[in-house]
């Protein structure tokens, strides 16, 4: 049977064309499929653009190379932040939302024509903002703090992009309603869709906050409003700036569960516990935005400590639950697949040659160990004072957004290409290596930026040599070494990123068609079993015999405690109390 055969069904008076996936048996709405493809392609284009600017930034901060002049450095930094922190991830998240609703719930997508309106708005907005930046008069960086003023089209572009993304979020909610009305699933929605719902809810809050603050800022840039309060701007803007990164967290956790389910047939250890962990995200994750405002005058310690400590620790608890349950789900599935010897045979014999699995598991480990632990350190009010606005901050969020989210999105792409684009991945040997190259590069970037930040190196600083400054300052040689290593590992990450883009584009353009006969092998190496319906149904793994997971969790806690107290030690040396 050719995979592309489609049937038309009329549901509720609305006609929709579906094809049936021979691997999973899921009905795939062709309108949803087209939108997933469009958003995925757009996301990869902007990843390539944003990644290139990121490489230029890293090579400039490497003092020996120092490739860009000051004005171009801030232009590149603005474009890098805009394209990778907002445009790449939200385009991809739109694809994830359509996939997790229409595809996983076996139903038609709500208002697909509106989906194209959303897509056009997002493309127009992203292009407009990028053009404004490239013209050179909007080098205000991604945060665009007032009173720095960008070209009006910079703000307008982001507003249009945000409105398009909001439409996509409401289409996701509409699709949930359709699936429930048409009874395309039984009981509760599957966990992966619930994770996407969590991402959608956080996205609605975050994107709406961004649109709300950027609308008056746009009018201010046009001259219709005389003044925007700087701290008020920061407060509301960070609801978007950090909130969108929390969308990433929810989305990539959902992808961890999805990849484990598709490749290994892994079910969560407990649906209830995992869904409760997502509820903790819905309630508290967005409050983490406050850690950007921990040194602002005018905001009380009560506000700062509640938002960054008491509340956010509950969201951190959610992340730790996911970290354990995804690992545990993989172990449970592997043990069920026959890998039962010792504590770690399940991990040694995992499909490490499958780029989807390798990317997913590396994302999980690096997000937890590098991004999660450093996030708690930054969110602790007392410790934050040592690291605030140092290059430690981008070190932390490269561990979360690049090692965590981007690597997880890359992993999912290796499944989306055969399942949705119906193309076999080209250059499979390079594809196997790609997640490892990218992960090594990103781990280095994150660690060395955090190392330089611990030595006090400021973020967003063109020249730490202070060549043209009236007053000089010398950083320790180790800080220069850290920035040089950051540059070297940025090159390695870029090689991984370029490989990913080439493989994805090459597959879309020249990949061999996937057929019913080769669909399973097209998903890459995996245990010798058929893909189960684990990703689209409710249910638990049914075992708690997970010695390997318990050992890994113990190692994580030990690292967490040690690193946390090492930072308190640093603080006591900087800020002696006697």
């Amino acid at each position: 049977m050719a995979i592309a055969e489609a049937e038309t069904q009329i549901i509720g008076g609305i006609a929709a064309k579906f094809r049936t996936c021979p691997a999973s048996g899921l009905k795939i709405d062709l309108a949803a499929e087209r939108l997933i493809k469009a958003n995925a392609v757009a996301s990869i284009v902007f990843l390539a653009i944003g990644g290139l600017f990121g490489l230029l930034v890293a090579l400039t901060r490497w003092q020996t190379v120092h490739i860009l002049p000051a004005d171009m450095f801030y232009l590149a930094l603005t474009a890098h932040g805009l394209d990778v922190l907002l445009v790449w991830i939200i385009f991809f998240e739109m694809a994830v939302l359509y996939f997790c609703s229409a595809v996983l719930l076996n139903c038609r997508l709500a208002t697909p024509k509106l989906g194209w309106v959303a897509f056009v708005l997002m493309i127009a907005g992203a292009v407009l903002a990028n053009v404004a930046v490239l013209q050179g008069n909007s080098s205000v960086m991604f945060t665009s703090y007032v009173p720095m003023k960008a070209d009006p089209n910079f703000y307008l572009g982001i507003i249009l992009f945000a409105v398009g993304a909001l439409i996509g979020c409401f289409m996701f909610l509409g699709t949930l309603v359709i699936a429930k009305d048409e009874k395309t699933y039984e009981g509760s929605i599957p966990l992966v869709t619930f994770g996407a719902l969590t991402a959608c809810i956080i996205a609605i809050f975050s994107i709406a906050a961004g649109a709300i603050i950027l609308l008056p800022t746009w009018l201010w840039s046009l001259g219709y409003i005389s003044h925007i309060d700087t701290v008020m701007y920061k407060l509301v803007w960070w609801a978007m700036g950090h909130g969108t990164q929390q969308v990433n967290v929810a989305a990539h956790v959902a992808i961890w569960y999805a990849v484990a389910a598709i490749l290994l047939g892994a079910k969560p250890l407990s649906e209830k516990v995992s869904r409760t962990a997502f509820l903790l995200y819905i309630l508290f994750l967005q409050l983490a935005s406050a850690h950007h405002l921990l040194v602002e005058p005018g905001l009380s310690e009560e506000w700062q400590i509640f938002n960054t400590s008491y509340a956010i620790y509950l969201a951190v608890l959610g992340s730790m639950i996911h970290g354990m349950t995804v690992t545990g789900a993989v172990e449970a599935a592997q043990r069920r697949n026959g890998y039962t010897r010792g504590a770690f045979e399940w991990l040694r014999k995992a499909p490490w040659g499958n780029p989807a699995f390798a990317g997913m598991f590396l994302s999980l480990i690096m997000f937890g160990f590098l991004g999660g632990i450093s996030g708690v350190v930054l969110g602790t009010e007392q410790l934050n004072i040592m690291l605030h606005n140092t290059i430690y901050v981008p070190g932390h969020f490269h561990a979360t957004v690049v090692a965590g989210t981007t690597l997880a999105f890359m992993a999912l792409t290796y499944l989306v290409l055969p399942l949705i684009f119906q193309k076999q991945v080209v250059w499979p040997k390079l594809a196997r290596l790609q997640p490892y190259i990218f992960a090594v590069g990103v781990a280095g970037i994150s660690l060395f930026m955090m190392g330089a930040g611990t030595l006090g190196v400021a973020r967003r600083h063109w020249d730490i040599g202070f060549a043209d400054a009236p007053m000089s300052f010398s950083y320790p040689a180790a800080a220069h070494l850290m920035l040089a290593l950051n540059g070297i590992f940025a090159v390695i990450a870029s090689i991984g990123g370029i490989l990913f883009v080439l493989i994805a584009v090459g597959t879309v353009l020249w990949g061999k068609p996937v057929t019913a006969e080769n669909i399973v092998e097209s998903l890459g190496p995996m245990p010798k079993k058929q893909v189960t319906d684990a990703v689209s149904t409710y249910g638990n793994a049914g075992t708690w015999h997970l010695p390997g997971t318990y050992i890994l969790v113990a190692v994580f806690f030990l690292s967490f405690v040690l690193y946390y107290f090492v930072n308190w030690k640093y603080l006591s040396e900087i800020w002696p109390l006697s």
Binding site: L176, I189, T198, F205, A239, L299, A311
Partner: protein
């Protein structure tokens, strides 16, 4: 409460066996979750923060 009433309470009825726990009903309602997910950060992060900022005295 009498023993007879207690015994009657223990007898499973079709309604009781089909009763969905409150927490599950919350988690199964995307629009309630949307309301909670927008309200909590709006109140604790944005509104509380804005209230504090409006109380900063204006410099002379």
């Amino acid at each position: 409460m009498t023993d007879a009433t207690e015994q009657a309470d223990d007898v499973p009825t079709p309604e009781r066996s089909l009763r969905i726990p409150v927490m599950q009903r919350v988690l199964d309602n995307p629009f309630l979750l949307l309301f909670i997910g927008v309200t909590v950060p709006t109140v604790f992060y944005i509104l509380w923060g804005l209230i504090e900022l409006t109380q900063i005295p204006i410099a002379n």
